[in-house]
């Protein structure tokens, strides 16, 4: 048993729901007790879907336990077929039904429904949501894809986008546009937007784009084995990765190796080179999310934004190896955990200036007073935006630049804060104008001086710390609030390393010199 409050991933049957809900003409019959329908609202509320997920639950109750539940399952399948007339059905058990061992696959098979019925084995007590989605896509592809005549012209399949995927809707559109620019058409994009009959035509494409490895990898491997379709390994997130992706596509399809996409809409490189971005140099960034998004984000952070990556991790163990390899490249300890408390500890220790993470890291950032931008699921409703906002391809790179820089203090503003740090408007507790809540900080200031601690990112000294002399404490206050926590910490560890009993003004500046980059 493991005590948990927050979980980064749901159970595997939620992964299967993400595949079913992304598709059309597919229905999922889920052997599950009353209450498991809670997952419907992830789709209708967070993703704001205008229809119910195509899932029928058996809703067994305590009084049904016994032989009755198998009959209930079959009746539910029949009713679901009659009502929804799907092209294909997937059937499976949720965690509780897994324990009563009714074998949905076997039960459905004996019913002789006139459509393909695909059984899913999703071990709820070992695996999680992403695995459930990838297994479901794999089983659908394995059961439905058939040999077929190749399309005319170059085409590919785009695989892995699902319902409830972080920016999947717009990523598919952006990558489709990118490929069209190279003269490559899309045969099938799946699961999002595809029907079971679309899946039967997968083999007509020349190759596969593995857009989200977490979900598409087993399906891509099977298609390669079965139909000889090669698949891309690069996730085209960021400028460099998008160029690598284009090169990989050129290699797979036998195009001229010098093939480049039209980059006229790409603004990240110039934005990042322009002088206002100079202050971004070496900003310390902590990156955490699903393996693929975290690794891709770290590359953009260091090589395209000029940040320093001070932490890198993921919650899905299936991608631990990729994250470990990348972490070595950045010279940081990889963090492979699904325990948010461990993530919080690691972030607090690293004291980054920006966190790139999930919804949970946003809240960790809020608690620690560190700005954060979201790069990966799980996400809340605001990260299913109405506006076009991919994270892949050229527009995706533009989106990343804006999204990550926004929570940081802009260069000119940072300059002003330095220049006028004693000024009543720009005093260091006022905070940047676009980060809400600085009114509350201003109110708290008078007492903060007395208490010797500041809200909003200033790490208060704890009782066993080395005491600060008043003069040093006053000088520390003159440092802008968003780096003051780090300055305090650095000075204290410096003093501790030197065996000092008090921190003086000199200690502060000696530590500053010691840690100077």
């Amino acid at each position: 048993m493991k005590l948990s409050v927050w979980t980064y991933e749901g159970p595997p049957h939620v992964g299967a729901m993400r595949v079913a809900t992304g598709m059309t003409g597919l229905h999922y019959v889920l052997h599950a007790p009353q209450g498991d329908t809670y997952a419907d609202l992830l789709f209708t509320m967070i993703e704001r879907r205008n229809h119910r997920p195509p899932v029928t639950y058996t809703t067994f109750q305590a009084r049904d336990l016994g032989s009755d539940t198998a009959e209930l399952f079959q009746q539910t399948c029949r009713d679901a077929y009659d009502r929804f007339k799907p092209q294909a059905m997937i059937v499976g058990a949720s965690c509780t039904a897994e324990l009563i061992q009714d074998d949905p696959g076997g039960l459905a098979e004996t019913m002789g429904l006139p459509i393909p019925v695909i059984p899913l084995e999703l071990p709820s007590y070992q695996r999680k949501e992403n695995w459930g989605a990838s297994e479901t896509l794999f089983q659908l592809v394995r059961h439905l894809a058939k040999p077929c005549t190749p399309n005319e012209g170059l085409t590919c399949n785009i695989l892995g986008a699902t319902a409830l995927g972080f920016r999947h809707r717009d990523d598919v559109a952006e990558v489709t546009k990118l490929l069209a620019g190279l003269g490559i058409g899309v045969n099938v994009a799946a699961p999002l937007g595809a029907s079971p009959s679309d899946l039967t035509r997968l083999a007509a494409a020349d190759f596969n784009v593995m857009l989200y490895p977490e979900i598409a990898e087993p399906a891509c491997r099977w298609l390669e084995r079965e139909f000889g379709q090669k698949y891309t390994r690069t996730v085209p997130m960021g400028v460099g990765a998008t160029r690598d992706f284009v090169a990989e596509v050129a290699e797979i399809t036998g195009m001229d190796p010098g093939t480049r996409a039209d980059e006229s809409g790409l603004r990240l490189p110039w934005w990042s080179a322009s002088v206002d971005s100079t202050y971004l140099t070496g900003k310390r960034i902590f990156v955490y999310g699903d393996g693929s998004h975290a690794v891709a984000a770290a590359r953009v952070a260091r090589d395209e934004m000029g940040f320093e990556v001070v932490g890198l991790g993921c919650y899905n163990r299936e991608f631990a190896r990729d994250v470990r390899t990348a972490a070595k490249d950045y010279g940081v300890e990889p963090l492979i955990t699904d325990d948010y408390l461990e993530v919080e500890t690691a972030i607090a220790a690293a004291q980054p200036e920006l966190i790139l993470g999930t919804q949970m890291e946003r809240h960790i950032g809020k608690r620690l007073g560190i700005p954060c931008a979201v790069i990966s699921a799980p996400v809340h409703v605001q990260d299913f935006p109405a506006r076009y906002s991919p994270v892949m391809g050229h527009e995706g790179a533009n989106v990343l630049f804006d999204t990550w820089v926004h929570p940081l203090v802009m260069g000119l503003e940072e300059h002003l804060l330095h220049m006028f740090r004693e000024d009543f408007e720009f005093h260091d507790a006022a905070g940047p104008s676009h980060l809400g809540g600085h009114g509350a900080q201003a109110e708290a200031q008078p007492t903060a001086d007395a208490a010797g601690s500041m809200p909003g990112g200033d790490a208060a000294p704890s009782s066993d710390d080395i005491p600060w002399e008043q003069e040093a404490e006053r000088e520390l206050r003159k440092i802008p609030f968003f780096v003051r926590g780090k300055a305090r910490r650095n000075t204290e560890s410096f003093a501790e390393a030197k065996g000092l009993s008090r921190i003086s003004l000199d200690t502060l500046y000696e530590a500053k010199a010691h840690y100077a980059r």
């Binding site: 048993m1 948990s4 409050v5 749901g10 209708t44 119910r52 639950y57 009563i100």
Partner: protein, 428 residues
């Protein structure tokens, strides 16, 4: 004209439509989300699966980030192998939790579908853990599983499990049962105090403040979903005061009058105490009810609040009930209010959601009350909806909240009217 004397029959004798099939409802675990706010030194530990943890996360929204006093001991493959192991694992997790949270005085071990199906004996575990961690911590067990409980029944199961832990008293007293937002509870405590009655409440805000119970206790339910708790209290000799639930000006007045009469308060004093707040509530409700008058309403089952709420909307806001669905119909508790809903409404218990959706689409009521899984899909079909879960989390009982309650139903209608032009131009 607005008093709650039953019109002849109403829906009291209407045959109840009972269906079973897929139920689009929450399980009892969801009750934890509001119960833990009420009981300030309690921790709710669900013994369940990743699905249970995910459900709580989805239901708790941003609350999950505020160091909530609940969590899930997620069972893993190894726990399913042998029962002895599971108990040891549970003891270890509980010890770790209590060491980290010394402020916890009550620990609820909450059963789930998986723990019920593998027959993990949580009541024995609760006894064992009380021996280990008592008297500082009291460990109580109840089930919030979906196979046994629907949504608010989780609170019923929790409070019923608390009853045997309460000390006995022979003293005459009035006990209000059901967790209400503090602001509402305080209003009721004040009103009864003005009538000279001290109000005991279950649940109490802390374990130290737990009420006593006994044969001279009179029980006034604040919520309609507390049948099991009421029975547990009655087993100690306590007596039930049957009253309509305190929704709306008239509903609240009748509830207070009935309780006061049972406690022997002079009726003239009662009228003095409620005159001003009742008049205030009536005036405020009347303003909001303009939007609701002569509109029809359809309730999907959710919380068991449906019948009292329908009564309020029909008798005080001038709405017409098309169908009133409830997960469980406890006639002993809401039968009186059924009689106040004019004949013609379908009263349904339980659910086959696809069949009920067919009825809702055919009825095309002006307002459809349903869960979040159904609301947007129905809006996309052109129906106005009110999502039901808000009715459980918002302060809606009593005089001062009566207009807020009406407003929860009026707002979606006003909104649709405001954006109608745009709405019809955009196909969903």
């Amino acid at each position: 004209m607005n008093d709650l004397t039953p019109i002849v029959g109403g829906c009291a004798d209407t045959p109840v439509l009972k269906q079973r099939g897929q139920r689009e409802v929450f399980c009892g675990l969801t009750g934890i989300v509001w119960l833990h706010r009420k009981m300030q030194d309690a921790f709710f530990l669900v013994v369940g699966s990743r699905t249970c943890a995910h459900l709580l996360q989805s239901a708790a929204g941003v609350m999950i980030f505020a160091e909530p006093r609940f969590g899930t001991a997620i069972m893993e493959e190894v726990d399913l192998a042998g029962l002895a192991d599971a108990n040891e694992e549970l003891d270890r997790e509980v010890a770790r939790l209590l060491a980290r949270r010394p402020d916890i005085k009550q620990l609820f071990l909450v059963g789930s579908c998986p723990s019920e199906v593998i027959k993990l004996d949580l009541s024995r575990a609760a006894e064992r853990l009380t021996d280990q961690h008592g008297p500082q911590v009291q460990v109580v067990n109840y089930s919030g599983s979906g196979i046994e409980t629907t949504f608010t029944q989780g609170e019923d199961a929790c409070l019923a499990a608390l009853v045997p832990t309460l000390e006995r008293t022979e003293a005459p007293q009035l006990m209000m049962v059901g967790s209400l937002p503090d602001v509402v509870e305080d209003q009721f405590v004040r009103l009864f105090a003005e009538m000279g009655v001290t109000l005991a409440t279950l649940p109490a805000r802390t374990r130290a403040a737990a009420p006593k119970v006994g044969p001279n206790t009179k029980v006034l339910l604040a919520q309609p979903f507390l049948g099991e708790t009421l029975e547990a209290l009655q087993r100690t000799g306590a007596e039930h005061i049957a009253a309509p639930f305190p929704f709306g000006a008239e509903g609240t007045a009748t509830w207070l009058r009935t309780a006061a009469a049972a406690m022997g308060v002079d009726p003239a004093l009662v009228e003095d105490v409620i005159r001003a707040p009742k008049a205030r509530a009536e005036a405020a409700v009347a303003r909001v009810a303009e939007t609701l008058r002569d509109k029809s309403i359809f309730f999907f089952p959710d919380s068991q609040l449906e019948i009292p709420l329908a009564r309020f909307l029909v008798t005080e806001c001038g709405m017409t009930a098309v169908e009133v669905g409830t997960p469980y119909l406890h006639k002993g508790l809401v039968g009186g209010e059924l009689a106040l809903i004019p004949e013609g409404a379908v009263i349904s218990e339980g659910q086959d959601v696809d069949l009920q959706l067919d009825r809702a689409r055919a009825a095309r009521a002006d307002l459809t009350v349903c869960g979040l899984g159904l609301a947007n899909p129905l809006e996309a079909e052109g129906l106005s909806t009110k999502w039901a879960i808000e009715l459980v989390f918002s302060p809606i009982h009593g005089f001062e909240q009566a207009a807020d309650l009406a407003e929860l139903f009026a707002r979606p209608l006003r909104r649709r009217a405001m954006i109608r032009a745009m709405h019809s131009a955009v196909a969903p």
